[in-house]
Every structure is written in C-alpha cells, then in structure tokens.
Amino acid sequence: MKDIFQDLFNKVFGFFRQAEKEENAKDTAVNRLRVVLMQDRTNLTPELLEKMRGELIELLSKYVEMDKDALELNFEQEGNQMALMLSIPVLRAKDEDEIEDAEAEDEASENNEDEAGENQDEEQVSQEEEIQEEESESEKQESNTNSKQNKSK
C-alpha cells in the first residue's frame, strides 16, 4: 500500500517538476526571434558583441569584483526602442586603495602605449602623405599625357 502511494507521489511530483523545467515551444520561438531580430536590426555580429563584452569586463573590473562568466550583455526591446542590457553579478566592490592601484597601473601602461601609439601614428601619417603625393604626381602625369594626346589630335 505504502509503495503505491510513494509511486503515485513521485509521479505527480515528477510531472510538476518537468512542467516547470520545460520551456514551451512558444516561448522558445519568441526568445529566439528576439535575439535574431536584434542582430538583423542592428547589424551587430555576435563577434562584435563578444568584443564589447570583453572590453566592458576589463573596464568594470577596475571598480568591482564580479563573476565574469555570468555577465550578460543582451539586447532588449521596449516598445519601439532597443536597449542594450548589461547584467553584472557583482561579488564585491573594490575599495579605494585597490581602485587607485588599478588607476596607477592603467596610467603607466597608457603612457607606454601612448608613446608607442604616437610613434606609430606618425609613421602612418607620413606614409599616407607619401602615397597621396605619389597619386597626385601620377595624376599630373596622366593629365600631361592627355593634353599631349589632345594636342596631337
């Protein structure tokens, strides 16, 4: 007798638990559509979204310690507007000393980067200028040849 009741209880309990767990076909469709439409509408690829996520984690970890794997970055629709929703599971906020340390570190690395970056920029600029000069020279040559052709005609 007891076994029968036990069995029945398990079955009923199991049914309710299953019903809770399983997402119905309608909700699956709605959720999948939302994600795909956000991508369609914004032209933002999953790769770019992932890059943005990485940079946000880097920035925010200066101030808070968080569960990086559980951080969620998603588009949500509110009426006609699209919102970028960021959900950050914060483990604890960092204290002032830690933030100052991080800032000092950032500045140090930034200075290094800046110097390197500036040099690179200068090189690039000078290269571009050279290319432009070459182009304008070749244009001149072309127009010269054109005028020659015209004259010969």
């Binding site: 309608k26 469709a29 709605v30 559509l33 439409l37 369609d40 629709q77």
Partner: protein, 271 residues
C-alpha cells in the same frame, strides 16, 4: 476622385499575400467601393486563379507598359462584382519587364477612376518588391505566427519605413491557430505584435475553407458562414475607417464543441 493605393506585401512567400489581396479586394467591392487589383508578380501570377478569372485575361500589365493596348482594355471585370477589376501580371516575362516609374504611372492613372488600388507584391525584397511599392502610399504587411514569417516581416517593415512615399503600414496576422496558441505551441497575436511593434489591421484564423475557395476561384469573403471570411470582411471595414473589434477566435459554439474541449483538456493534462 483620388483612390488609395495599398500594397500588400510580406517578404516571405506562402503566407497568404494573394489570398489576402483577393479577399480584401472582394470585400471592399461588396461594400460598394470601386476596386482594382494589380498583380505585380510577373512570371508567377496567381491572383487571377483565386478570383476565377484565369480564362478571361486578354492583356496583361506588360502589354499596357509596352503599349500594345490601353490601360482600360487590360482591366478584367470580376464575374460577380462589377465594382471589381484585375490588372493581371504577365506569365511569360520576368520582373524586369516593368519598371518602378511605369508602375507609378499606372497607379496614378487608376487613382482617377477607382477608390482602391490594391497592389499584390511578389515575395522577396528585390526589384519586384521595389516595383510594387513604388506607386503605393499605404502598405499591409502579411505575416503568420511563425518565426521565419515574422523575421521576414520585420525586414519588410524596415524597408517600408525607409520609403518616404509609404505614409502608413499595418500588420495582418494570417493563419492563426487558436488551439495551438492556447497550448503554448504557437506564438500569440500579442507576441507577434509586440515583437514587430506595428499596428494590427486584422487577425485571420487558419481555415480549411480557404483551400476549397481557392479551388473554386471564389474568395472566401463571399461565404457568409466562414470565420476567415468574416475576419477578412472586418479588415476591409477597418480599411474604410470603421472601428471594428477583433473577432474572438476561441468562441466555441454548441454542446458538442464544449464536450470535445473538456475531453481534449483532460488528455492534455495527462501527458
């Protein structure tokens, strides 16, 4: 007289653009409006079949454009309703046979003589779509509660919003199955409207009567007992500016239906 030019479009094929066109056109004509339907699906024409006019077509839109006949000569009158006309697509030509400018001109000319010009748009977002939209100032976007149809409708809405000539667009949700929505197996009307955030002009239930009416070449709005026919009639009334509430698609009449519902409810729970 300056008639309203409404393009009926969807992006995805097979969601019921042409059926919608035939039924709204017929319903408007039954309400005493002068209506002309233009089939712009060159090479894949079907509107003539749904209206049962396939044997009466002498000239097509391509003949008009290439000046083999006058515009008025190419208009085919409906069998039942003298208010209703069809300008058929050419079956042997492709989408490039008519340009945006030419379609615009045809619409402008028809606006003088008709209250409504309904343009049946081909599936897709290529030149055929661009042509069909060219002369219109209003649009009806047909979709169904299925993912691919909703996604394509979203794309079409984006394209319509970018067009200055289109002053307004409305959503028509076709092939709705209340039983599947109730069991959470299909997206509901509210889901689709929220996702697309567009105004709704009609909800049409899935109806096997559409198949028989297509086979007969007689639009379902002519059948006063059909629920889909009633829904299409309501769409036509909304187009004319009437404030008509949406049909309750879940209404079950008769004892038998109630008993059946009771049992199907029990069966569903046992799963």
């Amino acid at each position: 007289m300056s008639g309203r030019v409404i393009v009926i479009t969807s992006g995805k094929g097979g969601v019921g653009k042409t059926t919608t066109n035939a039924n709204i056109g017929t319903a408007l004509a039954r309400a005493g409006k002068k209506v002309v339907m233009i089939d712009t699906d060159l090479g894949l024409r079907n509107l003539d079949l749904l209206l049962g006019l396939e044997n009466r077509i002498v000239y097509t839109i391509v003949d008009v454009v290439e000046e083999r006949c006058k515009l008025r000569q190419a208009l085919v009158k409906d069998k039942k309703n003298p208010n209703l006309c069809l300008l058929a697509a050419a079956q042997t030509r492709d989408k490039t046979a008519v340009t945006e400018e030419q379609l615009k001109k045809i619409c402008e000319e028809l606006q003088k003589d008709f209250d409504f010009i309904l343009v049946d748009c081909p599936a897709g977002i290529e030149q055929g779509f661009q042509n069909a939209v060219a002369g219109a100032s209003e649009a009806i976007v047909v979709t169904t509660p299925e993912m691919s149809a909703v996604r394509d409708a979203d794309r079409i809405i984006g394209l319509l919003e970018a067009k200055e000539e289109i002053k307004s667009y409305k959503l028509l949700l076709n092939r709705v199955r209340p039983n599947l929505i109730k069991s959470n197996d299909m997206m509901s009307v509210e889901d689709v409207v929220e996702i697309l955030s567009a105004d709704l002009i009609g909800i049409i239930p899935e109806d096997t009567g559409i198949i028989t009416s297509t086979n007969k070449g007689d639009p379902i709005v002519n059948d006063d007992n059909s629920l889909a026919g009633k829904a299409y009639n309501n769409v036509a009334r909304r187009i004319m500016g009437e404030d008509v509430p949406f049909l309750n698609l879940e209404e079950d009449t008769g004892v038998f239906a109630k008993v059946k519902k009771f049992f199907s409810g029990l069966m569903g729970k046992e799963k």
